[in-house]
């Protein structure tokens, strides 16, 4: 009997000693590991000003961007869903395109990595995006996209000129989309500590420049070195601050929704 107790006690002790890993609280963050290549990645952060967990999620996404490469990871904050509805003095960042991308999901924050819409398989929580982002960064680059903006202060007209070029053969319905993004907007946001009246909203999606459908690059197949120049324009709403506005351009395959290459440039 004593032997039995001893065996059980030893097993319990072994489990207790092997079953606990204490992490040094001063060293909880992993070091930055560079990922080679030229592929860029777009994270869409589906958020809302009344979503209490959204600020922390946005912070986590920005930390990932900071760690893995600010020049290769872009974040687009898409305000959509019930928690993004502009109640009282909460800001109205809703867009028709963002609502369509959100695809009637039930909660915020949600993320997509290199995908246009939140459909089955593309919906991620922020803590699930690190591996897909790293995987997407490691993919070979298939397209090159540049954006050149011209902004007229007096008319508030923005002209976008963009060169798109295939750097490898790629099959699919290939489209290009240009989005207006406004950074550093101050407004009301619910946080775990309560209402923050001076919250700084980052990279807010304001709408598409060339429409929800985008512009066709190649239908069927793009061969390496196929190239096309796109021009589109829009007039900035009077409440947008042109000093904080950017144009985000990306090439995507329409059937799968997969974004193949992105770029973001300031408008002035």
């Amino acid at each position: 009997m004593k032997k039995l107790f001893s065996i059980f006690a030893m097993a319990a002790l072994m489990l207790a000693s092997a079953g606990c890993d204490k992490i040094d609280i001063n060293n909880t963050h992993k070091p930055y590991t560079p990922i080679g290549g030229n592929k860029t990645v777009l994270i869409k952060d589906f958020t809302g000003a009344r979503c209490v967990n959204c600020p922390a999620a946005a912070e986590t996404a920005h930390e990932l961007q900071h760690r893995l490469g600010e020049d290769r990871i872009f974040i687009l904050s898409v305000h959509a869903g019930g928690l993004a509805q502009p109640v009282g003095q909460f800001p109205d960042f809703l867009t028709e395109e963002g609502t369509a991308w959100y695809n009637d999901n039930a909660s915020n924050p949600l993320f997509s990595v290199d995908h246009v819409a939140l459909t089955d398989g593309n919906t991620l929580y922020v803590e699930q995006i690190d591996t897909p982002v790293a995987d997407a960064l490691a993919e070979p680059q298939t397209f090159d996209i540049t954006v050149e903006n011209t902004y007229d202060e007096s008319s508030r007209k923005l002209d976008v000129k963009s060169d798109v070029k295939a750097v490898a053969d790629y099959e699919g319905q290939l489209y290009v989309s240009y989005c207006l993004v406004e950074d550093s907007i101050v407004g009301w946001q619910i946080t775990p500590e309560g209402l923050n009246r001076e919250y700084v909203f980052r990279n807010v999606f304001r709408g598409t420049v060339n429409g929800y459908e985008g512009s066709l690059f190649k239908d069927g197949q793009a061969l390496a070195n196929d190239a096309k120049t796109f021009n589109c324009s829009m007039t900035l709403d009077s409440i947008y601050n042109p000093n904080q506005c950017y144009v985000l351009g990306y090439v995507f395959e329409k059937t799968s929704g997969k974004i193949l290459q992105s770029v973001m440039e300031k408008i002035k």
Partner: protein, 579 residues
């Protein structure tokens, strides 16, 4: 001669085999149960269902068969969700053998292989269970050993990987891109009254127990160092003397950053205590609970009820009538302080108030508040709940002003005559719908609820039951000013009335019609009636129930674990049987 000997030998063997086969068959017992729940959905513009999203039918079904022969038992459970009914997780969609096990238990040692269900203590560090009405099953596929080395001592060990819907039991679920850890645990319990003969008939009762559970998970994070082994330990004691009983369990968990706690490295703690007294006609129970960062899952990215290793028992009254159960509390594993007092008293027969049959009175009060979280210094910065930090500091007995829930109710249960029986209850409710159901910015539900349940026995076989219920919110009624964009948050809000009449012919038939009317909703288009008609037929262990009508939006909770149910309209068929 040799041929004859061989024939005789073969005959003897066959006879002995037949005898043992007969004995084997005589000792065999087979039992099982089957259930199918099917819902046919229909468009119903009256309650805002203008699109079925291509889903006209939802079917959940299971069949389980258990076989027992002496010390040996085995079982299987087959499940089908084709597709799952509305309100159940879409990951359930599928069909297959969900569960199987084989157990040998001779009283001294018990070994189970396959899917294991068990609980250590009150479940604060380990509980694997299945709850059909929630679509929840966190069975541990692996093995369990139970040792009973001496009278009153039970030692247990479990090892395995938890069920995650239909995902294969692999280290990595490639479809979901998630990793599931391995769960291993040990538990010991010593019942002194069984072990020590002198205490066998004593008024004093005592048992003690302790558990240790650890998960082995894989660190896949690019951000943080995730502990690959996370341990949780608990100690418990149960004491009793005469009519008094006291039990308490304390649990501790080391750093376990996860999606649920926003990747903080704080340790988790939980305390659950209960003091009770009972005598003929009177009983009282006082319970207290403190939970701080005690979500414990075998996948650190898990959300909602996914892959829970532990179970935090609720200490709230469980309402069964439709209006009070609309607002059921859901346990908050990140932090809560709760208390409950339940008093039952029966006014004796033959007294003025007790009458001929006695009168049962019950009082219950439960309240849940948040814990207090104070900021901490992290790299020279004052932070609270920051990922990668210790999160916050929390004084053990400090209670936050943020109240999640309060339920004060009083019930009278009275048999008036051989034919009449009445139950009535009054409930005062406070329900922070923002925290519990996630309706951000929605006003707290402060309501008075009452119901009366009257049964009249027409004769030995027939009875009729009438249920009348009302729910009156203190602040949100007709005329409450709301923003148009907030409208969705006001589904099911405001005042309600409900009535049900049920006619029963024992032992087979029951017919009922019911209506719930949200007549006081501030949003005019939500002032809907939810009519239902139900026919139930019971024969032996078989029950067939057919109902048609509307179902209001709400939550279904069992043991503090909840799932949301969307509004629907249509026909529901439930068939269940057991043998």
């Amino acid at each position: 001669m040799r041929k004859h000997i061989l024939i005789l030998g073969a005959l003897a063997l066959a006879l002995s085999y037949k005898a043992s086969a007969q004995s084997f068959l005589e000792n065999s017992q087979v039992n099982g149960s089957f259930q199918t729940d099917a819902q046919y959905y229909m468009l119903d513009e009256g309650i805002g269902i203008t699109d079925l999203n291509g889903k006209k039918l939802g079917i959940n079904g299971f069949g389980k068969v258990n076989y027992t022969n002496g010390n040996f038992s085995a079982g299987i459970r087959f499940e089908a969700f084709l597709p799952e009914m509305n309100g159940f997780r879409s990951e359930l969609n599928g069909v297959g053998l969900a569960n199987f096990f084989a157990t040998y238990d001779n009283g001294f040692v018990g070994i189970t292989v396959g899917d294991v269900y068990d609980q250590f203590g009150s479940g604060l560090v380990f509980r694997s269970y299945e709850e059909w009405s929630l679509g929840m099953d966190n069975a541990l596929r692996g093995a369990r050993i139970v040792l009973r080395p001496t009278q009153g001592v039970t030692l247990k060990a479990v090892y395995g990987r938890q069920r995650y819907y239909w995902a294969p039991y692999l280290e990595k679920d490639f479809a979901a891109d998630d990793y599931r850890g391995i769960v291993r645990g040990v538990d010991g319990e010593w019942d002194l009254n069984q072990s020590i003969p002198a205490l066998g008939d004593s008024k004093f009762r005592m048992s003690i127990g302790g558990s240790f559970v650890s998960k082995k998970q894989y660190d896949q994070s690019l951000f943080y160092y995730i502990p690959e082994n996370v341990g949780a330990a608990a100690g418990r004691i149960n004491l009793g003397y005469g009519n008094w009983a006291f039990s308490t369990e304390y649990a501790y968990k080391i750093n376990d950053p996860s999606a649920i706690n926003n990747f903080i490295y704080k340790e988790g703690r939980a305390l659950l205590s209960s003091l009770s007294y009972s005598q003929k006609g009177f009983g009282a129970v006082l319970q207290v609970k403190r939970v701080d960062n005690m979500s414990f899952k075998s996948m650190y990215t898990g959300k909602q009820n996914d892959l829970d290793i532990n179970f935090i028992p609720p200490i709230n009254y469980t309402h069964t009538h439709s209006l009070p159960s609309m607002y059921t509390y859901s346990t908050q594993p990140n932090g809560e302080m709760a208390a409950q007092l339940q008093i039952n008293y029966t006014i004796p027969k033959g007294t003025a108030l007790g009458g001929r049959y006695g009168t049962k009175l019950a009082f219950n009060m439960s309240q849940v508040n948040d814990i207090v979280r104070d900021s901490i210094m992290d790299n020279g910065e004052l932070v609270i709940n920051k990922p990668g930090s210790l999160g916050y500091a929390s004084r053990f007995f400090a209670i936050s002003d943020h109240r999640f829930f309060r339920d004060i109710n009083f019930e009278i249960d009275k048999k008036i005559s051989p034919n009449w029986h009445v139950t009535a209850q009054y409930i005062n409710l406070y329900y922070d719908i923002e925290t519990i159901e996630g309706h951000v910015g929605a006003p707290v539900v402060k309501a008075n609820i009452g119901f009366m349940d009257v049964t009249y026995k027409i004769n030995k076989k027939q009875s009729i039951r009438l249920e009348l219920q009302g729910l009156w919110e203190n602040e949100v009624h007709k005329g409450y000013e709301y923003e148009e964009s907030e409208k969705k948050d006001f589904q099911k809000r405001g005042d309600w009335a409900a009535a049900l009449i049920e006619y029963t012919i024992t032992p087979h038939w029951s017919f009922s019609i019911a209506d719930k009317w949200n007549y006081g909703n501030p949003v005019e288009e939500y002032r809907d009636h939810y009519f239902t008609g139900t026919i139930t037929y019971i024969k032996d262990a078989t029950r067939v129930m057919l109902s048609a009508g509307r179902q209001s939006e709400g939550v279904v909770c069992v043991g503090g674990v909840c799932r949301t149910v969307p509004a629907s309209s249509g026909v529901t068929l439930t068939v269940s049987t057991s043998f």
